[in-house]
């Protein structure tokens, strides 16, 4: 079991990844799958912008446009942004707290495969009669009326991948509470770990609301219930509440880890301790808490009445306070620092004005009376792309460049990285800044075309040109990845030279057991402290001993595959006689493999002390 660096064939590597329970390999799986869905969602975005480039365009039909628009939003949020964030959480968080793995390695793998099969299921709708077409929010009055199986793909696909996300959230919470290295107190945890912690709590309490909403939608569409059917006593607003009780925390689930990544970057490349660390922790927790109190600001025009609107408006504006604290702390971290403008730092510096612009329009939208004017216009589209692209996507690019050497053992090319940044930054503002004005001039969101002579032509063309800049940036990033992987120049523990936290104290990529001996943490920025005292690495907190590791398992794949099969059965139950049998077979596969997992003892294995001594921290093959 402890043979590390063997040459393996393609089949063996594939089998290794299908069965892996190692958080570092699962991170790579999340990165590949999330990256694939990011390209898919980006392609859909390009189709949207091409269709809207000129008035009365017929590049795509109205119906197909609705499908592309729905899948762009759904794919980007659930299948691209979240998994990519999970990739960095998996790759980095256990290393940052000095743990050998996550608390539940088996569940970590299960979470990935559930997400993967849910995403594949959702996207198979393109080939099986049409994709969902009711918008990523899929409001019930619209989605119940949608013909075909598009919405069924949406509801069942998100149900499966949502279960995977929930499992991941619980796993990270327990890992951070129970598995920190000696000396790693809560207030010595790196900001990215704190962000992972708060985000995981948000996932735990937000996703069950979506689960219930999706169940009700599935029951109404496939099993004849009447939750959202007003003629049978139902109420369509229930969906809106559940969707946003989940959906608003969801935007913080996306953006808090982004804040975490930027906090690491500002500190590393300013060569300074993060300014106001404890207020950063406080602000993160407060944003997480307030994030649950504001969902109804998405529903100001639903008719909740002035009292409810006023309460939710004020609660929403209150979030600007902890967010402002963070912005100033980042600025003060750079102040007086010795700054190097590497690719990750460029993204981080560009993030501040971009995200603040999104925050300002957010406060404008939070004012309920004004929201009646902006509602469902391109102003809203501009706002949420400023926060999600300017906040989250910038962080994903920055994080990819920052952590690439830690995940793969080789550095992305800095010149190509900077070209990617410049093109994307220009393209982003070109595309979305003008959309604020399109909204104020009266262009509604989600329309598939517009008429000439209404003053919308130039601005839409500008927006489309910007989208091509972003596409070019992504292509250069892909070229960079290929060139880097082919060259494969190996780097050491701390390739940026200024790493501050524990992940930079071990080889890149780390051995599969992470730490030969658990490190002793003596303060915030543990590795930086040791370096400043002239030491080469961390002092160990334990003698060299046997390390307990979990066994690989194929069961998570099978459990997820069973649900994937069952979802087809549930969906085609009304149309075909094979629906019910397929549903039962799928559930039997899932429950049967859970049963096998339950009754078969799996104690894992031990790496023996002697093997650790021979092998001087050789990196594991990625």
């Amino acid at each position: 079991m402890s043979t590390l660096a063997q040459k393996k064939g393609f089949g063996a590597v594939l089998w290794d990844y299908l069965t892996t329970v190692d958080h570092k390999k699962i991170a790579i799986l999340y990165l590949i799958a999330g990256g694939f869905f990011f390209l898919l969602g980006g392609l859909e975005a390009m189709f949207i912008r091409i269709q809207l480039a000129v008035p009365n365009n017929d590049f795509v039909s109205a119906g197909l446009y609705n499908e592309i628009l729905t899948m762009h939003g759904t794919t980007m949020i659930f299948l691209a942004a979240m998994p990519l964030i999970f990739a960095f959480m998996n790759a980095v968080m256990p290393l940052q707290i000095g743990a050998r793995d996550v608390a539940f390695p088996f569940l970590n793998s299960l979470g990935f495969w559930l997400f993967f099969f849910g995403g594949v299921f959702l996207n198979l709708s393109w080939f099986l009669g049409g994709a969902p077409d009711a918008g990523w929010t899929s409001y019930a009055s619209l989605s119940l009326a949608s013909e075909g199986h598009g919405i069924d793909f949406y509801a069942l696909g998100l149900q499966i991948s949502g279960a995977g996300t929930l499992i991941g959230g619980i796993n990270f919470l327990v890992t951070i509470i129970n598995m920190r290295a000696p000396g790693m107190t809560y207030m010595r945890m790196p900001m990215f770990t704190w962000a992972t912690f708060v985000t995981s709590a948000l996932i735990l309490f937000a996703f069950p609301a979506l689960t219930v909403g999706l169940f009700l939608l599935v029951f109404d569409r496939m099993f004849g219930s009447n939750f959202f059917d007003a003629s049978m006593g139902g109420n369509t607003i229930i969906w809106e509440h559940f969707f946003w009780i989940f959906g608003h925390p969801e935007v913080y689930i996306l953006v808090l880890p982004a804040f975490g990544i930027f906090s690491e970057i500002f500190s590393i490349f300013s060569r300074k301790r993060l300014f106001g660390y404890s207020s950063m922790v406080f602000a993160t927790v407060l944003i997480g808490f307030l994030g649950f109190m504001v969902w109804a600001h998405h529903m100001f025009t639903t008719g909740m009445g002035p009292i409810a609107n006023a309460i939710f408006a004020v609660a929403t504006m209150a979030i600007a306070v902890p967010t402002g604290i963070k912005i100033f702390n980042w600025l003060f971290t750079m102040w007086g620092g010795s700054i190097t403008f590497t690719t990750p730092m460029l993204w981080a510096v560009a993030f501040i004005p971009s995200f603040v612009a999104g925050g300002v329009t957010g406060v404008m939208l939070a004012s309920a009376a004004q929201d009646y004017q902006y509602h469902d216009s391109y102003f809203v589209v501009a706002h949420f792309h400023y926060v999600i692209v300017g906040g989250v996507v910038f962080a994903l690019f920055a994080g990819a460049h920052l952590y690439w050497p830690k995940m793969f053992g080789t550095m992305l090319n800095e010149l190509l990285g900077k070209i990617t940044f410049v093109l994307f930054f220009i393209g982003f503002h070109l595309t979305f800044f003008i959309q604020h004005f399109l909204g104020l001039w009266g262009m509604p969101r989600r329309i598939f075309t517009f008429l000439p002579g209404q003053g919308l032509e130039t601005a839409n063309m500008v927006s489309t040109v910007g989208a091509f800049f972003m596409a070019a940036a992504v292509i250069i990033m892909l070229i960079n990845i290929v060139i880097t992987s082919v060259k494969n120049e190996k780097v050491g523990n701390d390739p940026w030279g200024d790493g501050r936290t524990l992940e930079w104290a071990i080889p890149s990529p780390p051995p599969f057991y992470n730490f030969k001996q658990l490190p002793l943490v003596r303060g915030l920025d543990a590795y930086w402290l040791e370096k400043m005292e002239g030491k080469k690495g961390m002092s160990p907190a334990e003698p060299l001993g046997d390390i307990h590791m979990p066994n690989n398992s194929f069961i998570p794949f099978v459990i997820s595959f069973g649900l994937f099969v069952a979802a087809f059965g549930a969906m085609y139950r009304a149309d075909h006689s094979w629906g019910i049998p397929v549903l039962i077979v799928g559930l039997l596969i899932t429950l049967g493999s859970m049963f096998i997992r339950s009754v078969k003892d799996d104690h894992g294995f031990h790496i023996h002390k002697e093997d650790l001594e021979d092998n001087n921290d050789k990196g594991v093959k990625a």
Binding site: L204, N235, H603
Partner: protein
């Protein structure tokens, strides 16, 4: 302490459910899972309250026509007692008395089966006597979803506890399986708490209009 180690009454620790790191993780992770389940049931309760008595025409049965105290009371007593017997089972587990633990778990399963049987009878009764079904009205959909989700949890809990009892029947208690029994009993208590709310919100509040 290694999980596979053979234990005796003398070496059995005070909290066998949290001795190894795996056990501590399982214990904490399960509490978080129950936190998520709480939100799930809270959402179902909210749906039920929003759709209670919402029927398409006025001659359909409402909550006050459907529910009767005796049946709901017997079901409540069965489930509350099963929670108590699962406490006895955990008491015996902590005393390293495997046989008595199995006995009390067996009684818990029987009480749970009794509850489930009555629930099936109850649903059947509503459908045939009152034409109150999953598809007849929004009220019906919300009622069967809330109470049915709980019933499905009971059924899953019974399968889980039975599997644990059979799997470990020959090999007795160890630090490897003690946390497994413990989280199963936590789950069973959670189901019981949810039922207390269902009894109050659905049945008692339903009776008074």
């Amino acid at each position: 302490m290694a999980a596979e180690q053979k234990m005796t009454y003398e070496t059995w620790p005070a909290s066998p459910e949290k001795q190894t790191l795996e056990a501590k993780n399982k214990f904490l992770g399960f509490w978080f899972f129950l936190g998520g389940e709480t939100v799930l049931f809270a959402s179902l309760f909210a749906t039920y309250l929003a759709l209670k008595d919402k029927v398409p025409n006025s001659d359909m049965a409402l909550a006050k026509d459907l529910f009767e105290i005796p049946l709901a009371f017997i079901m409540t007593m069965l489930l509350l007692t099963s929670s108590l017997t699962s406490v006895y089972a955990m008491y015996q587990m902590k005393n390293f008395n495997f046989k008595k633990m199995q006995l009390w778990l067996g009684i818990t399963v029987l009480l749970g089966l009794g509850f489930l049987g009555l629930e099936i009878y109850e649903f059947n009764h509503y459908v045939h006597e009152f034409h109150h079904s999953f598809t007849s009205s929004a009220f019906g959909s919300a009622f069967y979803t809330l109470v049915g989700f709980h019933g499905a949890h009971v059924a899953f809990g019974l399968l889980w506890i039975t599997t644990l009892m059979i799997r470990n029947s020959k090999r007795g208690l160890s630090l490897y399986n003690a946390p497994k029994f413990y989280v199963a009993s936590l789950y069973w208590h959670f189901i019981d708490v949810v039922w207390v709310f269902i009894f109050t919100v659905v049945y008692l509040m339903g009776m008074v209009g």
